[in-house]
């Protein structure tokens, strides 16, 4: 039995790590982009981003003031008290890191100041082996999240329709999601499943290949096309509009072809912990793949 106090402590730790450290796969893609950009404004944007990430790590403060909303992915042997422990961890992290209190009532816009609210923090569960619990936090900023899009294609639109929708979504988002972005795509399932897939697809590091060969090929093709648009870092023009495309899929109804896009800003922050039954904890910013 994993003690709830340990979960609370781990949640504070992964939130702190997530907002102050950029996963190494993202840093490495940004460095490649910095070397490849010939336009001065574009290169300056990426150098500024990398310098900002370095400073944030050095002094252990959030790299971006938008520390997002607290989205959690929990898998393994779930414990019943985990949600309360996560809430306590979020409240503590908001105070101690500190995080910006971002969570408000959707209609009154009242801010309780502690990042708690109805369904917030949000926890996604997937049951798994009973000998450990994996907790991943993805503090998702609003600039990129606001550019999310869903389209219920008709099956005859097929792969062409999917490609077109993804490209159009990135183009119409333009400068707003803080490019260079990572483009999460969910294909199939139902409307809600496609959206969840698009978000979960963003959890896969940029250096881990898609297990489905056809999706791997589609990711590469879409990335090349997106970077041909010239939106560039911060929408100021350049070669680097996105650092990667990540696609997940699910089987769907014979009459449906849902496709969802969830954009991630360059500050693709996440951190994970694996808690074993004996109390050992392993941490990672890339997750456990």
């Amino acid at each position: 039995m994993i003690p709830p106090d340990l979960v609370e402590e781990v949640v504070v730790n992964i939130l702190r790590t997530a907002v102050t450290t950029l996963p190494s796969d993202v840093v490495s893609e940004l460095q490649k982009a910095e070397a490849e950009e010939s336009d001065e404004i574009a290169r300056t944007q990426i150098s500024t981003i990398l310098e900002n990430v370095r400073r944030a790590g050095e002094i252990a403060v959030p790299m971006c003031q938008d520390t997002g909303i607290p989205l959690f992915f929990v898998s393994g042997g779930c414990i019943s008290e985990i949600e309360d422990a996560i809430k306590r961890g979020v409240v503590r992290a908001t105070e101690e890191v500190p995080l910006r209190p971002n969570v408000v009532h959707p209609l009154t816009r009242r801010n309780a100041g502690n990042n708690l609210g109805i369904e917030m923090p949000h926890v996604n569960y997937s049951p798994g082996p009973r000998d450990y619990v994996d907790i991943t936090v993805m503090p998702k900023g609003a600039g990129s999240e606001n550019m999310s899009a869903l389209r219920m294609l008709v099956p005859s639109e097929g792969i062409r329709g999917v490609k077109s929708f993804v490209l159009d979504t990135v183009v119409s988002a333009g400068s707003r999601p803080c490019p260079p972005t990572i483009v999460g795509v969910g294909i199939g399932g139902s409307s809600d499943i496609a959206m969840t897939l698009a978000k979960k697809a963003l959890l896969r590091p940029l250096n881990v290949r898609n297990p489905h060969a056809e999706l791997q090929a589609l990711e590469e093709e879409l990335l090349a096309a997106i970077n041909q648009t010239g939106i560039g870092p911060m929408g100021l023009g350049g070669k680097t509009t996105s650092l990667g495309v990540r696609i997940d899929m699910a089987h769907c109804h014979t009459a449906s072809l849902p496709v969802a896009v969830n954009l991630q800003c360059w500050a693709a922050r996440k951190a994970s912990a694996r808690i074993f039954l004996d109390g050992r904890v392993t941490y990672s910013t890339e997750g456990f793949w």
């Binding site: 404004i41 310098e51 803080c178 010239g230 939106i231 360059w266």
Partner: protein, 197 residues
């Protein structure tokens, strides 16, 4: 180039798209809620708690930490300016602001208002909140804290805040619009690459 608030129309009109500036002086944060409340007060003929004439408005919801009785700035990058698209033209006209700092640019009505009343849009790198905070020397105060930390009106003292790129100048030019035109030209090639041309 260094510029200092309150800004004169002459200084603002001298700037051109693509120029790089650093800013000194008082900067007011303001995003959705500040814009809405200020415009609402303006409509009712009420006076704002701050004088925005010649001011720089920063689309920013900072992270602040309270230390004893004063506020310490932790992180202060820009938020997406486009959310204020429908509010900014009236804001520029009504309060006489001379600079808007943000990310991502703004739409045609704001470009028009900037050209008509003499105001510029200064782009700061999105997400680079630690570097931006290093360009703020002091938190001078806060108004409307009831709106919550991100939405409140923070009064900041900038010291060499930047680099800021002139994204929209006071002559109707927009760097973002130029990029959008370039994207429209590139899009058919990107579509052809995907076999959907």
């Amino acid at each position: 180039m260094r510029i200092k608030t309150p800004l004169s129309e002459e200084v603002v009109r001298s700037l051109k798209v693509g120029d790089v500036v650093h800013l000194d002086g008082v900067v007011y944060t303001g995003r959705d809620e500040v814009h809405m409340r200020a415009l609402d007060m303006c409509d009712k003929g009420e006076k704002l708690p701050v004088d925005l004439n010649g001011a720089a408005i920063y689309h920013c919801g900072p992270i602040m930490r309270k230390k004893d009785d004063s506020w310490v700035l932790v992180a202060a990058g820009p938020t997406t300016s486009a959310r204020m698209n429908s509010l900014e033209p009236r804001f520029i006209e009504g309060f006489g602001i001379r600079a808007v700092i943000g990310k991502g640019g703004m739409s045609q009505p704001t470009i028009d208002a900037m050209s008509k009343f003499g105001c510029v849009y200064l782009a700061i790198t999105g997400g680079a909140a630690v570097l931006a905070a290093m360009g703020v020397t002091k938190v001078l105060g806060v108004e409307w804290l009831d709106l919550g930390m991100p939405e409140a009106l923070w009064i900041l003292e900038a010291g060499n805040l930047g680099p800021l790129i002139v994204g929209i100048d006071a002559h109707g030019d927009s760097l973002f619009k130029k990029v959008e035109e370039e994207v429209s030209r590139n899009l058919p090639f990107a579509r052809r690459r995907l076999g959907i041309g």
